[in-house]
């Protein structure tokens, strides 16, 4: 049994990291907004989804105009990523303005309702536009970066099998790593990053420090949503097909990842995302083996959630969250 598990481990890791990377970046968006407003921004999954649609729409458009063929694919992708993240970034800012800002001094949970509302609204809006334009809201983009690779783990040791993946997986992982490093640097090492953390802890006092609180909050939404949108594009390229409802499930998982890592903690979100991705993949591939066929892949979420719960029981502040003992 162990041998079987080992055998497929390289493949599980590659797939798990790819999925986990996506969770991780979406989780960042949750964590950032949570960190600053203590709001579970339910709409974030939908921003991700919108990003995916914008990206695919652009790619389809570019294919139609023959541009995609004319320029190196990677350049096209970068272009799409940049444009999409700017668009979704502004979208995030707009959502905050209209749906959250008016509620800033209201009870915390009511903003959650507004967020759920935005989430429904966006789902239907995207659905409507896509369906209107294409007659079907399940959208499949032009296929890109489909070259297949395999890493020859078997040559390292015969107890491993080779791992197969596509170019897009590689691109996805590289892009995500760049985004994360950039963000980590921004938040922890720059002044605006520090301002974000200060606003997160005490808005009123932050404003006494010459910080424009609204601007900082907008900035936070911009960055989080831009990252989310860009991830959407990467997701679409990796998985090919998208629909308006992908944001819900992925958002949920990503939020779980954020909590696993310690919500509000940027590195935690990254680690939590990767961990969740790998765990899920591992469970789907091996639960059957591990339980002698009693539980199968359908229990993978149970497995993931169970681990989450166990982690939180022993470390209630998440993996990377610092236990802040309340000063009494």
């Amino acid at each position: 049994m162990l041998a079987d598990i080992l055998q497929s481990l390289p493949q599980v890791l590659v797939d798990g990291i790819a999925l986990g990377a996506i969770y991780a970046v979406i989780a960042l968006g949750y964590t950032m907004v949570y960190g600053i407003l203590e709001l579970i921004n339910f709409a974030h999954g939908e921003i991700f989804m919108t990003g995916a649609f914008i990206g695919v729409a652009m790619l389809i458009l570019m294919t139609g105009m023959g541009w995609l063929a004319a320029m190196p694919a990677i350049l096209a992708l970068i272009l799409v990523l940049v444009v999409t993240s700017i668009l979704t970034g502004f979208m995030g800012v707009g959502i905050e303005r209209m749906a959250y800002r008016p509620l800033r001094n209201s009870p915390k949970l009511i903003t959650l309702i507004s967020a759920i509302g935005v989430s429904f609204l966006l789902q239907d809006l995207v659905r409507f536009i896509t369906e209107y334009k294409r007659g079907n809201y399940i959208l499949t983009g032009p296929s890109m970066f489909n070259e297949q690779f395999s890493i020859k783990f078997s040559s390292i040791s015969s107890s491993f099998s080779d791992a197969f993946f596509k170019t897009s997986t590689l691109i996805l992982i590289i892009a995500v790593v760049i985004m994360m490093i950039g963000l980590d640097f921004f938040v922890n090492k720059t002044k605006w990053g520090m301002a974000m953390r200060a606003v997160a802890q005490d808005r009123e006092t932050a404003s006494l420090m010459s910080i424009n609180v609204n601007k900082v909050i907008s900035l936070t939404f911009f960055i989080g949503s831009a990252l989310g949108g860009a991830t959407g594009v990467l997701f679409a390229v990796q998985y090919g097909t998208i629909d308006p409802y992908i944001g819900f499930i992925l958002g949920l998982k990503a939020f779980t990842a954020a909590v696993l890592g310690g919500i509000g903690n940027i590195r935690g979100a990254m680690a939590g995302g990767l961990m969740l991705g790998i765990l899920e993949m591992f469970a789907a591939a091996n639960l059957q083996l591990l339980t002698g066929g009693i539980f199968g892949a359908e229990y993978k979420d149970v497995f993931a959630f169970a681990i989450l719960i166990v982690v939180l029981i022993f470390k209630p502040e998440g993996l990377f969250g610092k236990a802040v003992t309340e000063k009494v």
Binding site: V12, I138, F165, G296, A297, E298
Partner: protein
């Protein structure tokens, strides 16, 4: 028991040119499988409108009342209550999903509203022996074995990996397939479930990769199916895939792209373009709705036609009153040889269609529909 709701038949709105008889459709008009649901509704609408004249002559005004079950059992049941309590509704065409049909039909049975399903394949739909429930397509315990037979005897599959989507439909079909395949001597290497709505099935596929089967069977719908096939091919899994009527959709091809080659599917829906009646229907449909037919359009049409036939029989001798629902249900069940545009219909004692067939298709290129490879009747 004591039926306290019965009572007053009351005066129904209607008036004017005879009594209003409504026939409901209940299919998903929004959400994931709205396209299929819509096509059933439109097919049914077409049939109803063609029959309007006839019923007007009998002194009744026919009306279509479409409901949206959102492919959600709870919604289906809630709507069924509405349908049941609307006395002018004398029949239902629906649903698309067995998972919705099963609970909703419990309500129909309560109110004695006859239902004819154009698409449900799960065995439990009729196996409960409800008097009001009928379907015109084949059952999963016919479809599954037919697929298994084809996989083993035609494709030579010996080691099979079964995946299903953990819905009422997917489980039912996959179970039926698995059982038949095992009986026929194939080895089932794995039996796994995936989650509807997700997009990454690499975990399960890793198992497929390491178990090295020579065929994968998927019990589920095209959205997940397409994704599954595509990701399998990306992993270098080149063996044939097979699925059931849930894969019978042009969207499957869109999603899977070239990966769709070497995919087989059984379907309970005939290709309408094969017969002249079917072709006529398609062009009528296209003309009226400016849309191409989907696999279940014609079944929506035939279901409605069968239903109206039963209704017509029930009306005889009802003296211009609304016929009782029980009567309509009885008359429908009595139908033994009705010729529709895509299928002949004759119900057995639990409401299954004796003439239902299973068709086997293959995608050899990225084009829908696939090429028909076989047609199996009971």
């Amino acid at each position: 028991g004591c039926n306290s709701s019965g009572g007053s038949e009351g005066s129904n709105g209607g008036g004017g040119s005879g009594k209003v008889i409504k026939i409901a459709t209940q299919t998903p008009l929004s959400g994931g499988s709205a396209t299929l649901g819509e096509s059933i509704k439109l097919g049914a609408q077409l049939a109803l409108e063609e029959n309007k004249k006839k019923f007007e002559d009998l002194g009744y005004k026919l009306q279509l009342q479409p409901y949206d079950d959102q492919a959600d059992p709870k919604k289906g049941v809630a709507n069924a209550q509405l349908i049941g309590s609307d006395k002018s509704i004398l029949g239902v065409v629906g649903h698309l999903n067995s998972g919705v049909s099963i609970p909703s039909s419990e309500v129909y049975e309560k109110y004695k509203v006859p239902m004819v399903s154009p698409a449900n394949t799960a065995t439990e739909v009729t196996d409960r022996g409800l008097k009001t429930v009928n379907r015109i397509v084949a059952r999963d315990d016919f479809q599954g074995p037919a697929g298994a037979d084809f996989a083993i005897n035609k494709l030579g599959a010996k080691k099979i990996f079964v995946i299903q989507d953990k819905t009422a439909y997917g489980t039912g079909l996959a179970d039926a397939f698995k059982k038949a395949a095992e009986d026929a001597g194939a080895e089932i290497l794995g039996y796994e479930g995936i989650t509807v709505g997700e997009k990454d099935f690499n975990g399960v596929l890793t198992q497929v990769l390491s178990k090295k089967p020579d065929l994968v069977f998927f019990g589920g719908l095209y959205t997940e199916g397409g994704q599954l096939i595509r990701q399998a091919r990306d992993k270098g899994i080149k063996i044939p895939f097979m699925g059931g009527d849930g894969m019978d959709s042009s969207t499957l091809v869109e999603i899977a792209g070239d990966a769709v080659t070497d995919v087989y599917y059984t379907s309970v829906a005939a290709d309408a373009s094969k017969t002249t009646e079917g072709k006529d229907f398609s062009s009528k449909y296209k003309e009226k709705f400016n849309k191409n037919v989907e696999s279940y359009s014609a079944y929506g049409y035939d279901s409605m036609s069968v239903l109206l036939k039963g209704l017509e029989a029930a009306i005889e001798g009802s003296d211009g009153d609304l016929p009782a629902r029980e009567k309509v249900a009885e008359e429908i069940r009595k139908i033994q040889d009705f010729q529709g545009v895509v299928t002949k219909v004759g119900f057995d004692d639990i409401g299954d269609n004796k003439f239902a067939k299973v068709y086997i298709y293959k995608f050899s290129e990225a084009k829908y529909p696939g090429v028909q490879e076989g047609e199996i009747s009971k």
